[in-house]
Symmetry: C2
DNA sequence: TGTACATCAGTGAACGCGCGTTCACTGATGTAC
DNA sequence: TGTACATCAGTGAACGCGCGTTCACTGATGTAC
C-alpha cells in the first residue's frame, strides 16, 4: 500500500524534478525574465497546461529554481569548508576554500548564479521561503570566522562610532558572540566576494583580467585579510 | 540654410532622446530582457514601425541605453572626484567621494545600474561601442590612485609570484606607470565596490543591513585601504 | 479477491494578449536651379 | 523668388510568432469495503 501510493508520489517527484531541470536549461537560453512555462512543457513533450499540476504559476516555478540555486551554492560552500576543516586547515584556508567553491559553483551554474545574485526579475518578488536558503553561504562564512575568533582571536581596527549601533544590531541578529567590527567586515566581504564573481561572470573582466583564477585566488586572500584572517 | 537643415536635425535629436527616455521608463517596469519597442512607441503616441527611423532594431536601442548608462555613471564619478579635488581633498577622500557617487547614482538610476552591472541580457551581446564608456569609472579610480602614488607613494604588500605576470600585463594595458600590485588591488576594489552596491540594490541586504549609508561609507573606507590609501 | 468509487495526471481547445519587423503609402520639410 | 524634385518622418496593415492561464475532458492509478 505504501509502495503503491509511493509509486504515484515517486512519479510526481520525478516529473517535478524533470520540470525544474528543463526550466534550468531554458534559463540559460532565455534568462529568468523570459522563462516560459510553454517552452518548458514543449521541450518536455508535455502540454503546457499539464505543468499546472506541479506548479500553480510561472512565478512559483521561478521560486523553486531560486530556492534550489541558493541551496546548491550553499551546499557547495559548506562542503568545501567541511573538507578544508577535515584536512586540518586553519580558518584562513577554510575561508579561501569557501570563496573558491562559490566561484567554481558560479562558473558551473552561471544562469542559476545570475538568478540569485544578478538583477532581480521585474515583476517577481521573492517570497519568504527564499530567506533561509539564501543565508547558507553567509552562515558558513560566519562559522569560519567564529572558529578563528574563538581560537586565536581576531584583531580588526575599531569601528567608526557611526557604524557601531548598526554593527551591534547585526551581530545580535545573526552573528551572536562575534565582535561587532568582525560582523561588519564579514557582511562587506560577502558582498565583495559576490562582486568579484559577478564581474567575472557578467563580462566586466573582458579585456581587463585574463588569468582569472589566479586573480580571484589573490582577491580571496585579500578578503580573508579584511575579515581579520591575515596570511601569517 | 544650416539653421533650416538644423530644424530637421534638431527634431531628430529630440525624438531620439524622447525614445530613449521612454525606454528608460519602460526598463523600470519590465526590465531589459522584456524591453519592447511596441510598448515604447505606444507610450510615446507613435506607431511601432516609426521607431525604426531612429533605431534599426530593439538591440540597437538597448545598446544606446547601455552606452548612456555607462556615460552617466562615469560622469557622476568623474564629477564627484573633480569636486573633491577642487576642495583640496587628499586621494583617500577623493576615492571615497567617487565610491559614494557611484552608489548615489545607482540608487537614483536602479534600472540603468542593473542594465550595466546586473546579469547580462540573454541573447544580447554588447558591441564594442560600449567598451570606452564602460571604463570611465575605472579610469577615474586609476587617476586617483596614480595621484596618490606620484605624491607620497603607496605601500602594498608584494604580489604572490603567480599573479605577477598578469598584474604586469594589466598595468601595461591600462594603468601604465603604477606598481603592478596597485593595479591588481584596484581592479579587485572596483569589482568589490560594485558588489557592495549590487547587494544593496538587488535586495541581498534586506533583513541584513539596515543603515546602509553608514555601512557603505565604512566599506568604501576599507576599499580605500585595500588600494593603499590608509586612513592616516 | 473483486468491485465501485475517488483521485489525479495529462489532453486539447480556447481566452485575450503582446511581440519584432516589413512594406507600400502619405504628406510635410528641405534642396537645387 | 518660384518651382520641380528629393528626402525623410510617420502611418497602418500585415506577417508569423509566442505567451500565461482556464476549463471540460479522458483514462489510468489508487482506495475502501
Amino acid at each position: 500500500m505504501n509502495t503503491v501510493r509511493g509509486a504515484r508520489e515517486r512519479a510526481r517527484i520525478e516529473v517535478t524534478a524533470a520540470i525544474k531541470d528543463e526550466a534550468r536549461r531554458r534559463l540559460a537560453a532565455d534568462g529568468a525574465a523570459k522563462l516560459s512555462l510553454r517552452a518548458v512543457a514543449r521541450d518536455l513533450g508535455m502540454v503546457s497546461s499539464a505543468l499546472y499540476r506541479y506548479f500553480p504559476s510561472r512565478d512559483e516555478l521561478l521560486t523553486a529554481l531560486i530556492v534550489d540555486a541558493y541551496d546548491s551554492v550553499g551546499a557547495a560552500a559548506e562542503e568545501a569548508d567541511a573538507r578544508a576543516l577535515a584536512a586540518g586547515n586553519p580558518p584562513r584556508a577554510r575561508w579561501i576554500a569557501l570563496c573558491e567553491a562559490v566561484r567554481t559553483w558560479a562558473l558551473e551554474h552561471p544562469h542559476e548564479y545570475a538568478l540569485i545574485y544578478g538583477s532581480p526579475v521585474p515583476g517577481y518578488s521573492a517570497p519568504l521561503d527564499t530567506v533561509g536558503p539564501a543565508s547558507r553561504v553567509g552562515n558558513a562564512m560566519i562559522a569560519i570566522v567564529r572558529a578563528a575568533y574563538e581560537g586565536h582571536g581576531l584583531s580588526l581596527p575599531p569601528l567608526p562610532a557611526a557604524l557601531r549601533p548598526e554593527a551591534v544590531r547585526m551581530t545580535a541578529d545573526f552573528a551572536e558572540g562575534l565582535p561587532p567590527e568582525v560582523t561588519a567586515a564579514l557582511v562587506a566581504a560577502w558582498a565583495q566576494l559576490v562582486g568579484l564573481v559577478s564581474f567575472e561572470l557578467f563580462g566586466q573582466f573582458n579585456r581587463v583580467v585574463e588569468d582569472r583564477a589566479t586573480f580571484f585566488a589573490h582577491a580571496a586572500g585579500q578578503l580573508a585579510h579584511g575579515v581579520g584572517l591575515p596570511a601569517v
